[in-house]
Amino acid sequence: MSMIEFKNVEKYYGNFHALKNINLKIDEGETVVLIGPSGSGKSTLIRTVNGLEEIQEGQLLVNGFDLHDPKTDMNRIRKNVGMVFQHFNLYNNKSTIENVMLAPRLVLKRDEAENKREAMALLEKVGLADKAANMPSELSGGQKQRAAIARSLAMKPKALLFDEPTSALDPEMIGDVLDVMRDIAKDSSMTMLVVTHEMSFAKAVADRVIFMADGEILEDSSTKEFFENPKEERAKQFLSQVADH
């Protein structure tokens, strides 16, 4: 069953055509990496999946619900779709563990003792058990991002969206965050859509690679095919540019 499906989706910011005729199907459990030059619409596309950006035309089915239908309850979609942001967006007024526990408590009405146990287990998993009581301002960038991942996982989502999760991090912090993401990708039931510039991560983890430019999907291939034999000229050019780094 497909977890996320775009059918002829169009997105505009005023006169600017941000997403052009997007057709894309992501199955349950798949890990898909979205790459492309900046301004290509990757972030816009991923943000439409949990309704942070509205679409103007077409159909966008997430977990069976049409996001373009005004009757769809966005809160219900977001319960099942987590998101990890470039700038973490941790709750600045809450400690690390409270960041993880808040949504399960408020939205899922999870029992407090169980909530705490699960939150601690998640912090353990991302290597932040000793930072549970710290405020976000006391964490490094890499720690913040791992806390944000734990916060998303606490909702037990069916899909996780990653919007350039390592772009704001110092180079030495990136590895730990990618390790955590690799771990999540191993879970065969988790659907992951990742916008990233980390080609080594894409090669190692992605089932499929989507290449975007100027608001269009130019290439949608298996990871092996994309890196070994890209079809599109723009994709070849992009790969040669990022390969230098």
Binding site: N50, K94, L102, L108
Partner: protein, 219 residues
């Protein structure tokens, strides 16, 4: 003789009379502070939420009120409303006028405070599954109020001071009563005015100390 005035101005009767005025000043202040914090927050949030038409409408009314002299609003509530059948006792007329004006002032502070919060805080919460209401209550408002404490307190200090404007409709608050007392004897003018100066200062300085404490505690 000024010195003579100091001793004779503060007869037990006059002191009690002034304290009664202080009670009214403090009463109007406390009720107006509570009401304007509530309504100011609601109006500020409505303006911030940019609801179609409604936010614009509320914003326009808010703009009008903020640009009127408070004394005019007091006159309006006490003298004009009875003409259309709404009669308020003088104490409550003052409370309504003060609360209306201060709510409008506080709403601007609240709106500005909310707008200073990084959009990422909203997106993080919404993506995490929180409803709009939960996002406001648990994430946005606590962070915004922390930033708003200093301007809110300075607004509340001017509220306390502005209660003295109600002498314009002859509310027997502290400033009005002091006038009654020194009208009896001109040697009372300096001691009585100095006394109420001290009282206003203590009230408002107390408020600013609370503000500093809260700011320090929350920051």
């Amino acid at each position: 003789m000024v010195t003579l005035g100091i001793f004779s101005a503060f007869t037990p009767q006059n002191v009690m009379y002034l304290l009664g005025g202080l009670g009214i000043t403090v009463g109007v202040s406390i009720i107006s502070v509570i009401l304007s914090l509530i309504f100011g927050s609601v109006v500020g949030i409505i303006q911030f939420e940019r609801l179609p038409y409604f936010s614009k409408f509320v914003g326009t009314i808010n703009n009008v009120i903020r640009n009127l002299p408070l004394l005019l609003i007091i006159f309006f509530v006490y003298f004009a409303l009875p003409k259309i059948g709404i009669h308020l006792p003088i104490f409550w007329a003052t409370v309504v006028a003060m609360s209306t004006f201060e709510s409008a002032m506080l709403a601007e502070i609240v709106r500005g405070g909310l707008e200073s919060i990084d959009i990422g805080q909203f997106e993080g919460a919404r993506a995490n599954g929180l409803s709009n209401m939960q996002t406001m209550i648990y994430i946005i408002l606590p962070q915004a109020y922390k930033k708003m404490i200093p301007p809110i307190i300075s607004q509340l200090i001017s509220l306390v001071k502005d209660t003295s404007l109600a002498m314009g409709i002859v509310l027997a608050e502290m400033t009005y009563r002091s006038q009654i007392i020194y009208a009896q004897n001109s040697t009372y003018i300096i001691p009585v005015l100095v006394a109420i100066t001290l009282v206003y200062f203590v009230l408002n300085y107390g408020l600013s100390l609370i503000a500093r404490w809260a700011d320090h505690k929350l920051a």
